[in-house]
Symmetry: C2
Subunit: 128 residues, 2 copies
DNA sequence: AAATAAAATGAGAATCATTCCTGATGTTGC
DNA sequence: GCAACATCAGGAATGATTCTCATTTTATTT
C-alpha cells in the first residue's frame, strides 16, 4: 500500500498516461475489462494519494482523473460541457496566500467556466 | 424563471446570506422545514445561474453552496476536512489565459488542499 | 374579481457515481 | 510447499442529486 503499485494499479495509471486527457472512473473501467470496478476506484484513490494522478471535481456528475503533469487550469464550457486544458499555473500565488494564515498548501486546482471558442463561433452564427 | 425569484428561492438565498459560510444542500433543507428538498435544489440551481450564489465542488461527498461575494480560494484541510476561505483572486490571470485560446471565461474557482494551521500545530504536538 | 393559462412546488421514486462487504485469489516469507 | 496476509472481483448498499406528476401558486385576460 505504501509506494507499491499493484498490477491493476499500473494498468489504471497506464490508461491515464496514454490517453493524455481527463477520464471518468467509468471510462477507465470500460477500458480495463479484466479489472473490477471497485479495484479501479481503489487504485485511483491510491494513485492520487501518491501524487501520480489528479482527481478533478468539475461539477459534472462524475469526477475526472488525469495523469499528473504541469499544473494547469480546467476550463468547462457551459454550453458544450467540454473540458479544456488551459496553461495557467497559480500555485505560487495560492501557496503564499495560504501561508499568510499559516496553512501549508500542497495542491492547487483552478477551474473556470464560460464559453469555449467553438461555442462562441457557433452562437454568433446562429444569431444571424 | 428569468430574474424573478420565488418566495422559496428567497428563503434559500436568505439562509446562505445569513450564515456567511458554505452549506450543503442538505443543511439548507434542514434549515427550511417548509420548503421541499427538490425545490431547494431547483432554487440553488437558479440562484447559481443568476450569479447570486456559487456552487463549490470540493471533492467532498456533496457540493457546497455559498453566497456570492468577493472571489476567494477554498482551502480544504486534508486532515480535518475543514473548508477555509482564503483571500486569493486569480480571476484576471485565468481570464487572460482563457482568452489566449479564444475562450470567454466567466467564472473562476480556486481550490487548494493541504494542512491547515491548526492541524500543523496538532501534528507537531503529537510528534513530541 | 372570476376564469383561464402558465409556471412552480412538494413528495416520493428513480438514477447513478461511489463505497462497502464478503468470499476468493494471489503473494510473501519461511 | 505452506501458513499468514494483503489484495481482488463482484455484487449489494449508500447517498446526493434529478426526475415525475398531481397539486398549488402565480400571472394574465376579460
Amino acid at each position: 500500500m505504501n509506494g507499491k503499485i499493484s498490477r491493476q494499479g499500473r494498468q489504471v495509471l497506464a490508461v491515464l498516461s496514454e490517453q493524455r486527457i481527463h477520464l471518468t472512473a467509468e471510462e477507465i473501467v470500460r477500458r480495463l475489462p479484466d479489472v473490477g470496478q471497485a479495484t479501479v476506484y481503489r487504485s485511483l484513490e491510491q494513485l492520487e494519494r501518491m501524487g501520480q494522478i489528479r482527481k478533478l471535481n468539475l461539477g459534472q456528475r462524475s469526477a475526472y482523473y488525469e495523469y499528473a503533469r504541469e499544473n494547469h487550469m480546467h476550463f468547462v464550457c457551459e454550453r458544450c460541457r467540454q473540458v479544456i486544458d488551459v496553461a495557467c499555473d497559480v500555485t505560487g500565488v495560492a501557496r503564499e496566500a495560504g501561508a499568510l494564515f499559516g496553512h501549508r498548501v500542497d495542491r492547487v486546482g483552478v477551474t473556470a467556466g464560460g464559453l469555449c471558442a467553438a461555442c462562441i463561433a457557433q452562437e454568433k452564427k446562429e444569431q444571424q
